[in-house]
């Protein structure tokens, strides 16, 4: 809810004001569009094929869930640099438990998630109780997880996971309910439902804001926004429907995003997290148990790192000795590109998802173009710095 001053200058004026005051909110969409156009041109359209876009979305899954939790970590002015190898390590733990020990997949998933929370709490305790800065703590943990990953995969090297139901998590699709014009109907139905829900909630929210005399977008601008959102969801649904429909990854990412979005926007806990990020002294004096909430945020980071590790292992259908390298940078970059403030207190998990799409579009597009991994690192590093610099300069 930005206090965009609406003058009676008409639509042109309103657009101008919006561009000025909210350029930060739109930047990631502009970046995403630019990346799509460039890659579509450079790959002769292959980038935009239903197959590749479905692939891109599934690829984004493991980074997206980690980035969502990372958003909270960054909001409270902390950081977690250990999530990359931690995800890799936990993926390997899952593989070993299932393949070598033959434990049931669901028990393994539950155990690995619990292990993730355990490590998250451990990091959180070191940061909050012992006062070791998060940067140092998590950097050290990155070394530890890297070592542990090598250790448990040293004998066997890469551990292939030959369990179809596990591999389906990141590669499988929700069973369809029938065809419509040769397309998968489920994703069309879900897409349509999503459009209806989004339009309904947006209208309801606008009415509510008008009721309490807040500034709202003018009618034509609001309509344009609704159409834009509907078209976006519609296009994604149609593209998915043309390939194999709704993937399990999308379902998981959607659930994670909705839950975190709900917590951050609707609950007391969300308020406390924003409050601590905005001014932890003031939050403490308002009676908030700051250290307990910081601990919780690290625990949630641990949980999502474990989920990310599972998604990645499932996607590769194996656990490798180098799994997870660089994930932390992707996750943090997704947050910053999605508008999370480098000085804390500001950030939205829904925007982080867009940020994750930007980062993974880069990876996917560069792969399609046949650019080597070495160059990819350089490009991502540059994009990362541009995103943060843009944020910092914009907040001045």
């Amino acid at each position: 809810m930005n206090n965009t001053k609406m003058k009676k200058g008409g639509l042109g004026e309103e657009i101008k004001v919006l561009m000025k005051t909210r350029v930060r909110d739109y930047a990631m969409y502009i970046a995403l569009a630019a990346i799509f156009i460039i890659f579509a041109a450079c790959t002769g359209g292959a980038f935009l094929s239903p197959r590749n876009l479905t692939n891109l979305i599934n690829q984004t899954g493991y980074i997206a869930v980690m980035a969502v939790a990372m958003t909270l970590v960054l909001i409270i002015c902390e950081i977690d640099l250990s999530v990359g190898y931690m995800a890799g390590f936990l993926g390997a733990v899952a593989a070993i438990m299932m393949i070598r020990m033959g434990i049931n997949m669901w028990i393994v998933i539950a155990a690995v998630l619990a292990l993730g929370v355990f490590f998250g709490v451990m990091k959180g305790l070191i940061v909050t109780k012992m006062g070791v800065p998060a940067f140092v703590t998590t950097l050290a943990f990155e070394f530890i997880f890297r070592g542990l990953l090598s250790l448990i995969t040293s004998e066997s090297g890469t551990i292939p996971i030959g369990i179809d139901s596990f591999n389906a998590i990141s590669n499988g699709f929700v069973p369809d309910i029938g065809d419509i014009a040769g397309m998968h109907s489920l994703s069309l139905v879900v897409g349509a439902a999503a459009i209806v829900l989004v339009v309904y909630f947006q209208i309801k929210r606008r009415k509510n804001m008008q009721h309490y005399h807040f500034d709202v977008l003018s009618k034509p601008m609001f309509a344009a926004k609704l159409i834009f959102m509907s078209v976006l969801i519609g296009v994604v649904a149609v593209i998915l429907a043309q390939y194999r429909g709704l993937s399990w990854t999308i379902v998981i990412v959607a659930i994670v995003t909705l839950v975190y979005h709900f917590i951050m926007e609707k609950t007391r806990l969300g308020r406390y997290i924003y409050g601590i990020g905005g001014n932890s002294e003031a939050a403490a004096l308002a009676g908030i148990s700051v250290s307990r909430i910081r601990l919780l945020v690290f625990a949630s980071m641990g949980l999502m790192t474990a989920l990310g590790g599972i998604l990645f292992a499932s996607r590769l259908q194996s656990a490798s000795t180098t799994a997870g390298a660089g994930f932390e940078l992707d996750a943090i970059a997704a947050c910053y590109i999605g508008g999370t403030s480098t000085s804390g207190g500001i950030g939205k998990v829904t925007n982080t998802i867009i940020g994750a799409l930007v980062i993974m579009s880069l990876t996917n597009g560069l792969n399609l173009m046949g650019v080597g991994i070495a160059y990819q690192y350089v490009v991502k590093g540059i994009i990362f710095i541009i995103a943060v610099a843009f944020d910092v300069m914009n907040r001045k």
Binding site: N208, K266, G275, A282, L285, G345
Partner: protein, 516 residues
């Protein structure tokens, strides 16, 4: 002896909306100890900042004549080169460097080649300087290992190393214990024998009358008088008279009907030790606040008023409570963290709204509801509509001037930010409100509104403890006044008894009271 080392003539310095110094004349004789006294906000520190080049030439009007020449200091470096050294209350030493590194920081002794530091010479020179300030420590100790008193001496050694001829000390004894204070004053006398001139800002009038050759009193940004401290004994009372002596204008809305109820909050023998300062910061503080009463807590800077509020509110985990009890409505309570104090019905409105009070990047509703979100919860969901209704109520009743409660708090004026702070704590449904400097840095109109709000609150049965450095405000608003000095209550007065003189006398009382 009419040789003046310093003459400041007609100094006027304005900040947006405030005239901090108004045609101030200030003359210091060569080789004297000159004390500068005045209430908080009288302009002492501003004057010294003008002198030392913190406010550079051109940002003020008037002349600084030093050593017979008009000076144009563009930075503190310039004033240092001229031989003026200022020692601020917050010491400018680097804790993890050694004493000798600190003394010569910024003007290192170089080897003949001029490229590398001559550490041997540095240590030898540092030893000599420490000897001069009579500090018997190894110069290779780290600053961190020294107490505040000794750090102060290192600062003086540093000033001497720069060949300072004029030493400015801003409340040098405020954070020192009795022993260290005496040491420091003795040192100033010795330096005087060697021809060093000192200007000392101090609130401790007893010290001032003992040491000063000349005393200059500032009030409301103007020089009131300079008293010769050596012609017969200067009375503390005389200084106080000059420090206050202001007509109280009738800017305080009168409360109708003052009926006080039972005791809402009582503190008994509250004694707190601050390990980082190595001293007892609150010593057997006892006070009572009745229902429907405004209790003023007066005192000069560093008297321990904010520390008292924070230690009661449970916020400062490193303070050590040596003794004392809190009673809320007659019941003994213990607070481990602010949440406990809030549950018992105590709210603390911070003096530092930007750092401790508000979350500037969030909007008004977010800030107001933060301490008591439970009140607008619907299951686990914060009810956004209820929030808007509630916060709008406070916006109207406290007259917060904003186009909408979705406005970011950082965009509001100081007075409106203060009202948001008050709204926030009223929303927490307290019984006792501790307002720490509620009108600092806000304009006259907004001040009046805050006073009106305070009056309305007490008439509704709230109790208010108002910590304020503004003496007329304390006198104008309080039903009952406690005066603090150096961590103890040095006096208690009813509204009828209190006047500027007796409050200021209590606020400047020093150790003889502490030893009672």
């Amino acid at each position: 002896m009419n040789d003046y080392i310093l003459e400041m003539r007609g100094i006027t310095k304005t900040f947006p909306g405030v005239r901090a110094l108004d045609n101030v004349n200030f003359k210091v004789k060569r080789g004297e100890i000159h004390c500068l006294v005045g209430e908080n906000g009288a302009g002492k520190s501003t004057l010294m900042k003008v002198l030392s080049g913190v406010y550079k030439f051109g940002s003020y009007s008037g002349d600084i004549v030093y050593d017979g020449e008009v000076q144009r200091f563009m930075s503190t470096k310039d004033s240092e080169n001229a031989g003026i050294a200022i020692i601020n209350q917050e010491l400018a030493l680097i804790p993890d460097l050694t004493i000798y590194e600190n003394i010569f920081f910024g003007h290192e002794i170089m080897r003949p080649s001029g490229r590398t530091i001559d550490w041997n010479q540095t240590i030898v020179a540092a030893e000599k300087l420490l000897d001069k300030v009579r500090l018997d420590v190894n110069p290779s100790w780290k600053i961190r290992e020294l107490g505040v008193g000794k750090q102060q001496l290192v600062e003086i050694a540093k000033a001497l190393s720069k060949k300072a001829k004029l030493l400015i000390l801003d409340e040098p004894t405020a954070s020192l214990n009795e022993n260290d204070s005496q040491n420091l004053l003795k040192l100033l006398r010795d330096l005087k024998e060697e021809g060093v001139t000192s200007i000392m800002i101090s609130h401790r009038l007893k010290e001032v009358v003992n040491i000063a050759d000349t005393i200059t009193v500032l009030r409301d940004g103007a020089t009131i008088c300079s008293i010769n401290g050596r012609d017969g004994k200067v009375e503390e009372g005389e200084i106080i008279k000059y420090m206050v002596g202001r007509e109280i204008e009738n800017v305080y809305p009168r409360r109708e009907d003052v009926r006080h109820g039972d005791v809402a909050l009582e503190l008994r023998d509250w004694t707190v030790y601050d390990p980082s300062a190595e001293r007892v910061i609150l010593n057997h503080v006892s006070l009572k606040v009745h229902k429907g009463e405004v209790v003023g807590l007066s005192g000069l800077m560093g008297a321990g008023r904010t520390e008292l509020a924070l230690s009661v509110f449970g916020n400062n985990p490193h303070y050590k409570l040596l003794g004392g009890e809190i009673y809320v409505e007659g019941k003994r309570v213990r607070f481990k963290e602010p949440k406990d104090a809030m549950r018992a019905g105590i709210a603390y409105v911070s003096e530092d709204r930007k750092h401790n009070g508000l979350i500037l990047i969030q909007d008004i509703k977010f800030n107001v509801t933060l301490p008591n979100l439970e009140a607008i919860e619907n299951g686990v969901v914060v009810n956004a509509n209820e929030e808007i209704i509630q916060v709008n109520k406070y916006k109207d009743s406290l007259n917060i001037k904003t186009p909408s409660i979705a406005q970011k708090v950082g965009n509001l004026s100081g007075g409106n930010q203060q009202k948001v702070q008050i709204a926030k704590w009223l929303f927490a449904e307290p019984k006792v409100l501790i307002l720490d400097e509620p009108t600092r840095g806000i304009d006259v109109g907004a001040k009046y509104e805050i006073y009106t709000i305070i009056n309305r609150l007490v008439s509704e049965g709230y109790s208010v403890i108002m910590i304020s450095s503004d003496l007329p405000e304390v006198l104008g608003m309080s039903d009952h006044i406690y005066v603090m000095s150096e961590g103890t209550i040095t006096g208690e007065l009813s509204a009828e008894e209190a006047n500027e003189h007796n409050v200021m006398r209590m606020a400047t009382k020093t150790e003889e009271v502490c030893n009672e």
